[in-house]
Subunit: 356 residues, 2 copies
């Protein structure tokens, strides 16, 4: 078997954490970024919360406000019978052409650090530096799906910021997980699933990202930077494939893994089997060139905690830790609800790509 | 009157230029970028061509190929009764959910320089440096709507690149209009209407741009750069306004004009009156801050060449030349067909914004 799930799965469930305020419930602890720091494995976990609905016939919408004191989550209440709105479990969308209305999320995410000695048993960090909250109007609907990349001593955290203004990619950096520097939006909307390479290639920093919207089908692009903050040279890398497991949308997961044969990139693809995990091999010197790509997923939703949850049939991997002897620990979200882990060998992934 | 149209209008019509190949017709010479160079006024005009349709029941689609020899426009023929497609005058869209199909444009644009001694009578440049053609797969459906900004001796040309991969912003630079350096895509899809500020602000280059798609309503954002090539620090500037003349979408036109009261930015807005031209005043030191914005357009489609054409009721200004004594010459597209011009005084625009 290419990928072996940890027997401790799920590693983190919503029950492991108290809601951030009264009247809220935690519905997801999932899609973590992963890294090693001072001999421990760290996860930056997306924590999704929603208001407990006490008024039948209404839907409470959480919105994060930073322009008020104290900053925090306020509630908007929408009537379920209001013909202006179409309600799904995750999203409330305006039905009509009223250009002044925008969509809302029914739940709001922030990011929380969890730490482990063995990579299996994780403890949330309850300290003042343990949480990244939304900030500013462009994060009013939450921050999601972080990637953590170590470049030298610096840890780079990209995450998805959601607001009425669009979905875009923000960057936060740290060297110690106590002080964090926020660098704003490195990519404009509509974009998510952005992840750095762990080292320069031909003297440039590289970033894989996932633009979408309009004429652009959700696929993987690459950008170049001299300084990690400013990005240009955007190039198309790969898109969804007709008739394949990744036919609808694809996006990069955790940081690429350097091998002598190329960069191994773990990515997610959605299609007839839900959200699956696959791999692609990118050229070492020209990583916008795809050498090979998984014909079948390396992971699909099989376990109960992957098939059933807030959104079923989802495995979504954006965390990876490189271990000695070519072993990889993958951390991933199951069913948009829990955090789980799995191990695999980079050699096996390379071999599976050679057969492709 | 705030804006006075040139009596020579329209300045350039599709009849002024021969099609680039047999069997094609020029349907638009419009939406020019504008600049001054060596005492002359230059325009970089969008030239839209389409194949003359000789087969009833079919729609010929032009696609630019650079991977073949010689590079050039090839034709795809779609049957009008094919249920897979929905045909409009500009666009062919897939009807069904087949994710392998993408939209096409029915016409293809390239960019052509035209020069004038007086800013009124223009002559197309037929020389080898007179045309910018699409290049590469990401420009297969053409290049459109250039902005030209002079920064010192350097002229910066941004334009919109259209392909099945999305709509994004490319940068080309020149100092002499003979040799051009191509810098690829400075913004990923979905983005267009990007224009530089003519000088650094607080030691950074600035760019206004127009992302769209998904949760992002088509509005104006600003980005920052140390080198004109790599961009970060994306900030929201302004969006469409409910119930106003610019209620559907807005985008920046020509380069901002520096005044002691702030940056005057000419922009387009679409809404109930079609595409109109308006102005906003941005803070001198923090240009992401909007000080004022036109309550009524400074130009709407009034003349016949603005009301009638390939797409009627469109005035779209992306060219501007600053003249002595605070006079501005605006160059704009009428009805997505012709190039026209108008004059106004920056003082009058500022006064109109004060009343707003």
């Amino acid at each position: 078997m290419l990928v072996e799930r940890f027997r401790q799965n799920p590693l983190i469930t919503p029950q492991a954490i108290a809601p951030s305020r009264e009247g809220f419930e935690v519905i997801g602890t999932f899609n973590p970024g992963a890294f090693e720091f001072n001999g421990r494995v760290g996860l930056l976990v997306r924590v999704a919360e929603r208001p407990v609905n006490r008024e039948p016939g209404t839907v409470p919408i959480p919105v994060f406000h930073t322009a008020v004191h104290p900053p925090g989550t306020r509630l908007i209440s929408l009537r379920r019978d209001d013909p202006k709105w179409r309600f799904t479990m995750c999203i409330v969308q305006p039905r009509g052409p009223d250009s002044a209305l925008h969509s809302y999320l029914t739940n709001l995410s922030h990011l929380r650090f969890a730490w482990s000695e063995d990579g299996r048993v994780f403890q949330f960090d309850d300290g003042p530096a343990g949480t990244l909250w939304p900030q500013g109007e462009c994060e009013a609907f939450g921050i999601e799906d972080p990637r953590v990349t170590q470049v030298g001593r610096l840890y780079l955290i990209t995450y998805t910021a959601v607001s009425p203004r669009g979905i875009c990619v923000a960057l936060t950096t740290t060297v110690d997980f106590h002080l964090f520097a926020h660098h704003g939006f490195i990519l404009p909307p509509e974009n998510k699933n952005a992840c750095f390479f762990p080292q320069k290639v031909r003297d440039e920093y590289l970033l894989l990202h996932r633009p979408s919207g309009g004429w652009c089908r959700p696929g993987i692009w690459m950008a170049r930077s001299p300084d990690l903050i400013h990005w240009g040279g955007h190039q198309f890398v790969a898109g969804p494939r007709r008739g394949a497991w990744d036919s609808t949308r694809i996006g990069v997961g955790p940081p690429p893994v350097r091998t002598t044969e190329g960069w191994v990139v773990i990515y997610h693809g959605s299609g007839p089997r839900g959200y699956c995990v696959g791999a692609m091999l990118l050229d070492l010197e020209e990583p916008a060139r795809v050498i090979a790509r998984s014909e079948v997923p390396i992971m699909t939703a099989e376990a109960d905690y992957e098939k059933n949850g807030f959104i079923g049939d989802v495995v979504f991997c954006n965390g990876l830790v490189e271990r000695p002897d070519g072993e990889l620990w993958l951390y991933y979200g199951g069913a948009d609800t829990v955090t789980a882990g799995a191990r695999c060998r980079v050699r096996d992934i390379l071999d599976s790509l050679k057969q492709a």
